[in-house]
Structure formats: structure tokens, C-alpha cells
């Protein structure tokens, strides 16, 4: 007897993967956009340690920005898909099958993680080719960190998807919620120097811990030194998932 969660899970994930790959716009936004940002900033300012950049001192790492953008575009895509599915009655139709609600949402998360890996692989390939010798990072470790970050930020996506009124608002609302989080994440300006209230807000948002973890993995201080951020990503995932199960609308 299969666990109820797995009934239809792999099939639904596979179908959703194919459907997403057939979607021209979603495909471009998810895979190409972070890559373009990465290549552009890398060309202009250099990659890795900002002090080695030739002309301009860029106070952040474009590779980490690109990685967080991958996570954010995954969330935006998730919000868009859920709101379109809700508006079209697709969620309702899926829900009146023996599929469990966890499976329906879990398949969407799985698809986003698959495309995160693909997107990241493109980023790595571009990095190795365009900026030889700079990418000294442990590829496996960095990938796992990006996946964990995406996973955690996706839980916010479900909360956003719950409040988005119609599919038309999915893109602007998720952008308005997610990009300020990027500003608070500590990527551009150290969280420690924020005022107290803002600091609290920043620590309650997954991108902050994602950036801290990715920086650690990048400069080699590693997972051990950032176990608090790893724990925070899991705790925040659980918290936002709990919130979304209470406020989520299926139709």
C-alpha cells in the first residue's frame, strides 16, 4: 500500500514539468533572467570577491545575487501558476480527485526545484566559461544551499498566492513582496547595521538566511559555521507553510 501522499505524486510532477517546459514565458523568466543578470554584472564588475574587481568596487557578489534571483523567480512562477490554476478551477478539479492537497502543492514545489537546479547549472556553466578561474566554490555544496534556500522561500510563495486576488495581480504582488526582501537580505548592506526593528523583520524572512548561507558556502566558511541559518530556513519554511494552510484558498 502506497502512502497517500505518493498517490499520483511522480506522475503529477512529471506532467507539470512538461507543461512548464511548454510555457514560453515562464521558461525564459526562470532560466534566462538570472543568467543574464549574472553575466551582465560579472562582465561589468567582475565575479567573486568584490575587492578584486578592476574598475568599480561592487559591494556584493553577483553569483549570490543570481542564485537568490533564481529562488525568487521560482517563487514568482509558483505564485503565478497557483493563481492561474485557482482562477481556472484547475485546483478545484484536482482537489476533487483522490490526490491529496499536499501532493498537489508538493508537485509544484518539486517542479520549481527541478528548474532551480537546471537554472543553476546554466549559471555554473556560464561562469566557468566566461570567468575562468574565479568560480572556486564547491558546486555540490552551493547547489544544495540554493535548493534549500529556494525550498524555504517557496513557502512564502504559498502565503503570497493565498492573498493574490486574481491571476492578473500575481506578478506585481509577488514582485512587490519579494524584491524588498532582497534589499533586506544583507546582500547589499550588512543586516547587523540595520536599525533594531528592521533587523527583526529581516531575520523573519528566508532570503536573509539564504544569503548568509550562500555567502558562507561561497567563501568557504561552510555549513558548520552557518547551522543557525540552515535551521532558520527550515523553521521559517514550517512557519510559513503553517500560515498558508490556514489562509490558502482553493477557489
Amino acid at each position: 500500500m502506497r502512502p497517500p501522499f505518493l498517490r499520483g505524486f511522480w506522475k503529477l510532477t512529471w506532467v507539470e514539468t512538461k507543461i512548464f517546459a511548454r510555457e514560453p514565458m515562464g521558461f525564459v523568466a526562470t532560466l534566462i533572467m538570472p543568467l543574464v543578470v549574472f553575466i551582465f554584472l560579472g562582465r561589468v564588475f567582475g565575479i567573486g570577491k568584490s575587492v578584486t574587481a578592476p574598475q568599480v568596487d561592487l559591494p556584493f557578489n553577483p553569483a549570490i545575487l543570481a542564485a537568490v534571483l533564481i529562488a525568487i523567480s521560482a517563487v514568482q512562477s509558483l505564485v503565478a501558476i497557483i493563481s492561474i490554476y485557482r482562477e481556472g478551477g484547475i485546483l478545484k478539479r484536482l482537489r476533487s480527485t483522490p490526490l491529496s492537497p499536499v501532493t498537489i502543492m508538493g508537485a509544484q514545489v518539486a517542479v520549481k526545484l527541478v528548474f532551480t537546479v537546471i537554472s543553476l547549472a546554466l549559471l555554473m556553466i556560464a561562469g566557468k566559461r566566461l570567468f575562468p578561474g574565479v568560480l572556486q566554490v564547491n558546486v555540490f555544496s552551493f547547489t544544495v544551499a540554493v535548493l534549500l534556500s529556494t525550498f524555504s522561500i517557496l513557502s512564502l510563495g504559498f502565503v503570497i498566492a493565498s492573498v493574490v486576488p486574481t491571476a492578473r495581480f500575481a506578478q506585481p504582488v509577488s514582485a512587490a513582496v519579494l524584491y524588498p526582501m532582497l534589499a533586506l537580505s544583507g546582500l547589499f548592506y550588512p543586516v547587523d547595521r540595520f536599525p533594531r526593528a528592521l533587523k527583526t523583520v529581516a531575520y523573519l524572512l528566508p532570503p536573509t538566511h539564504a544569503v548568509a548561507l550562500l555567502k558562507g558556502v561561497w567563501d568557504g566558511s561552510g555549513w558548520g559555521a552557518h547551522w543557525m541559518n540552515v535551521a532558520a530556513l527550515f523553521v521559517l519554511f514550517a512557519a510559513y507553510t503553517a500560515v498558508s494552510t490556514r489562509v490558502f484558498r482553493w477557489e
Binding site: V15, R22, I90, R93
Partner: protein, 304 residues
């Protein structure tokens, strides 16, 4: 006979609006039962409560002896559902949808046979978004039938379809019943209800105001019959005196409209015409329909 579906005193409100109020009905094995009424009358809410997809505020529901909420998982294996104005993923292929649905049920029918039965073989590899309205509805029927359910729920199945597609769907629904499956449907099309349903319940403002076979309801509420015929003969009106209630209007020839009521009325008219030897060029009868019943019971048309 035990009912397949038994609903008693069902109630559901949204905020301060009462959507369904004290609805009770029974659906029996092998029949097509129709819940008919205008948009917003409470048809869909009632149906979704029965399917287990909506939680009623009060009342009891039993489907195949199960409680739709408590035994939701067991029930979903035994009922098929088609929602009003539903969609699938725009770029899902027909066969992928069927394949996905097949993986969810313990007992399933053969995909090819099912697609053939619904006339979708040629559309196997088509994206959902490229299907016509009628094809989409046929796919939804396929998905509702994939696990050989004992009861099928069809909500506003033909809304928005052209007459030809609608007729094709009607034939399919009759076919479902003829294979022994019980069908519970909603519609605001009286013609559809009259063609398909063995029994109907008329619902308005969340209450069932009448229930029976279409024939029963017409007989009970609209017993009037009208005969209209044309004849060039003289003195036709006088020769029909025995019937009473004769109107006549001049036309190309002379058109006579005779109104009466009861099962024997049309026969009486024919007998008199025959006895008097009136030469008739055209002859038709007008028999009230469910639409007339609805109008009489509610004081307004179904689309008002």
C-alpha cells in the same frame, strides 16, 4: 428501492446570503436526476455538498451509504465529478490528463476505448487549450468516467456549447445511464432537463419548490393543450361549437387556435374535425414544457 443519494434538510449560507435552505431529495440507482433552476438558485452548492467538496452548515447527506465528508477518500473512488466551467492546465495533452487520472484510481477502464467512446481518439496529443468547448466537456466526462464510478455528477455540462455539440453531449449522458450508472446533473436549460432527466427537482432561492418526472410536472401544473390548424372551409368556427374556447385569426387561409386542457382534449378536436368532415391543410398541437412549468411556479422565466 434504496436511494443512491439521500439528502435531508441541507442548509448552506455564505455570509448573510442563504445559498441552500432545507433541501431534501433522493436519487435512485440508474436514473438521471436533474436539479434545475436559474443561475444562483443553489444548484452548484447543493451538488458540491453532495460530492463532499463543500461543507454544509446543516442537514445530512448519504451517497452510496457513505458520508461525503467523513468517508471522502472512499467515496472519491466511487463517484465521478465534472465541475461547472472547469479547466485543465492549458498545455496538458489529452492523453496526459487521462493518464494522470488513471494513476489515481484503483480500478480503471481502458484509455483507448474510453477516448473512442467520447470521440476524442484524434485529439490524444492535443493541448487542452486547443480543444473546442464540446471537446473539453467530453474530456471532462472521460475523466469523470475513468474509474467506472457508480454515480456521476455533471454540473452545467452544456453551458456555452453550440446546439450540435450539446446534442452530442446529451447522447453521451443517456449512454452513461444506459450502462447502469446513476447521473446527478444540474442545468438551467429546460430543454436539456426535459430530454435527459428521468426526474427533476426545481430549485429557486435555495429551496426545492417542485419534484417529479418532467411529464408529471407538466401534467400537474400546465394541463393546457392548444391545437392550431388551418382550413379553407366555411363555417369552421360554428362547426366546432361543441368544443368551446375557439379563437380564429385570418391568415393566408384561415388559422384556428383551440385551447383546452386534459389528456383527451387533442383527441376530441381530431374527432370533431373528422365528424364534421373539415378539410385541414395544416395541423399542430402545442403542449406545455418544463419551461412553462417553471414560469408558472416562479412567475418569471428561467433566464430572467
Amino acid at each position: 428501492m434504496n436511494p443512491v443519494i439521500a439528502v435531508s434538510n441541507l442548509g448552506k449560507r455564505y455570509g448573510r446570503t442563504i445559498a441552500v435552505d432545507e433541501v431534501s431529495l433522493e436519487v435512485f440507482e440508474g436514473e438521471i436526476f436533474g436539479l434545475i433552476g436559474p443561475n444562483g438558485a443553489g444548484k452548484t452548492t447543493t451538488m458540491e455538498c453532495v460530492e463532499g467538496n463543500r461543507v454544509p452548515d446543516k442537514g445530512t447527506i448519504s451517497v452510496l451509504g457513505l458520508d461525503p465528508r467523513r468517508d471522502a477518500n472512499a467515496l472519491r473512488q466511487r463517484i465521478g465529478v465534472q465541475h461547472q466551467e472547469a479547466h485543465l492546465q492549458k498545455r496538458i495533452k489529452v492523453w496526459e490528463a487521462v493518464d494522470l487520472w488513471r494513476s489515481l484510481y484503483t480500478r480503471v477502464v481502458d484509455t483507448d476505448a474510453l477516448l473512442a467512446r467520447l470521440g476524442l481518439e484524434a485529439k490524444r496529443d492535443a493541448w487542452f487549450m486547443t480543444l473546442s468547448g464540446g471537446q473539453k466537456q467530453r474530456l471532462f466526462i472521460a475523466l469523470a468516467l475513468i474509474h467506472e464510478p457508480e454515480v456521476v455528477f455533471l454540473d452545467e455540462l452544456t453551458t456555452g456549447l453550440d446546439p450540435q455539440a450539446r446534442r452530442a453531449i446529451w447522447a453521451l449522458v443517456t449512454g452513461i445511464r444506459d450502462r447502469g450508472t446513476t447521473v446527478f446533473l444540474t442545468t438551467h436549460l429546460m430543454e436539456e432537463a426535459e430530454r435527459l432527466c428521468d426526474r427533476v427537482a426545481i430549485i429557486e432561492h435555495g429551496r426545492i419548490i417542485e419534484l417529479g418526472t418532467p411529464d408529471e410536472l407538466v401534467q400537474k401544473h400546465c394541463p393546457e393543450r392548444t391545437v392550431v390548424f388551418t382550413s379553407d372551409d366555411a363555417n369552421v368556427a360554428e362547426r366546432l361549437q361543441g368544443l368551446g374556447g375557439v379563437e380564429h385569426t385570418e391568415g393566408n387561409g384561415l388559422t384556428y387556435t383551440i385551447r383546452g386542457s386534459g389528456d383527451d382534449f387533442v383527441t376530441d378536436v381530431i374527432n370533431i374535425i373528422a365528424r364534421e368532415g373539415i378539410r385541414v391543410r395544416g395541423f399542430r398541437t402545442e403542449i406545455p414544457t418544463l419551461e412553462d412549468v417553471f414560469l408558472k411556479l416562479t412567475g418569471h422565466g428561467i433566464r430572467d
